[in-house]
């Protein structure tokens, strides 16, 4: 069997593969329910109305970006800062799409881009895992993505309801949900001294810009500074 042929076979995508992917994702989706609830509580505290918070979860479907935007939320919010912050946080999706291209390219355009609509960290990782084991993985990208989306929505709704019942969120530490969530997401990627140095530069840049320039520019400035150091500092095994 030629590699091309097997790649084409692995790119199979049909309702039964999607249903299997949906079921395969359920244990992880249960955690997403809790994260979604955390988002609902945090959105409630920021004064985001329930309808908008649910719409964010439905149409954006990107936890870290949604939490981060709560930090920027307010009448003075700048659309440029917003767009750049969301772009910086979600730029990792570009790498996910690129890494799945070898299989997605065998699909017709609408399926190729349709499959990516629900791409996020865990269903992407499970897709790559399946492909590496030689079993068709796009079912878990789409079906698993749908499971994540359903539970993210349910969780958001639960959080909004629960959040409304709490008189003083600070007493329960609930005002820390956003910061602790983002810190946990960031720390999951801490794998090397290289990453730690990149974060040092990003954090220091953010503090300096926040102190002297303000206007939420610190987020974008820190992201670019960290990204720039990452570009210059090769990882083991890189040629370019």
């Amino acid at each position: 069997m030629s590699p091309l042929r097997s790649e084409r076979e692995l790119s199979a995508l049909n309702p039964s593969l999607m249903a299997a992917g949906f079921r395969q994702m359920l244990p992880i989706a249960a955690f997403v329910l809790v994260f979604g609830a955390a988002y609902g509580v945090a959105a409630q505290q920021k004064g985001v109305s329930a309808g908008w918070a649910l719409a964010m979860s439905a149409f954006v479907f990107a936890g870290a970006a949604q939490f981060a935007v709560l930090d920027l939320w307010g009448p003075e919010l700048s659309m440029l800062t917003l767009a750049l912050t969301v772009l910086a946080i979600n730029a990792r999706h570009l790498l996910m799409g690129a890494s799945l291209f070898p299989w997605l390219r065998h699909l017709p355009g609408w399926q190729r881009y349709g499959a990516m609509v629900l791409a996020s960290d865990s269903n992407w990782a499970m897709t790559l895992q399946a492909m590496a084991k030689g079993s068709p993985g796009l079912g878990v990208l789409v079906g698993g993505g749908l499971a994540l989306w359903v539970f993210w929505m349910l969780g958001t709704a639960m959080g909004l309801m629960f959040g409304g019942l709490i008189a003083d969120p600070r007493v329960l530490g609930l005002d820390m949900v956003m910061a602790c969530f983002l810190l946990a997401m960031a720390t999951a990627g801490l794998t090397s001294w290289r990453t730690l140095c990149i974060w040092g530069v990003a954090g220091a840049t953010a503090l300096v810009v926040d102190a002297w320039l303000g206007h939420n520019l610190h987020v974008v400035a820190g992201a670019i500074a960290g990204g720039g150091l990452g570009l210059l500092w090769k990882e083991p095994g890189d040629d370019a």
Binding site: F35, F59, T85, G97, R105, M176, I198, D210, H218, A225
Partner: protein
């Protein structure tokens, strides 16, 4: 509680977030059908994706009171030891609540 955000502004935020996020989900696949993403671009994106979170958190930790710092520290240490986000976040909240209850 932050001041009221108008519905038009909220709609704008939703649209910008949804469109930018969709572009990132589609862009990688689209780009690869023209030109492969090289190691340098990959390193820039990889470093930037987590740097943006650190950049967001640094001033929060710097300006926050002791309960904020202790909560973040609890999350950080739990993540380092267990690599599990859910207990790490939960412990962060518990520490903040406990400190405020005692202080």
């Amino acid at each position: 509680m932050t001041p009221e955000v108008s519905h038009w502004l909220a709609l704008g935020v939703l649209l910008v977030m949804a469109v930018v996020t969709l572009i990132t989900r589609w862009g990688g696949v689209w780009l690869m059908s023209w030109v492969p993403i090289g190691a340098r671009v990959r390193r820039f994106i990889g470093a930037m994706s987590s740097s943006v979170l650190v950049a967001l958190l640094a001033p929060l930790a710097f300006k926050g009171d002791a309960s904020v710092r202790l909560a973040l520290l609890a999350t950080l240490v739990t993540m380092a030891l267990m690599k599990k986000p859910l207990p790490a976040i939960a412990l962060g909240l518990v520490v903040a609540a406990a400190y405020r209850g005692l202080a």
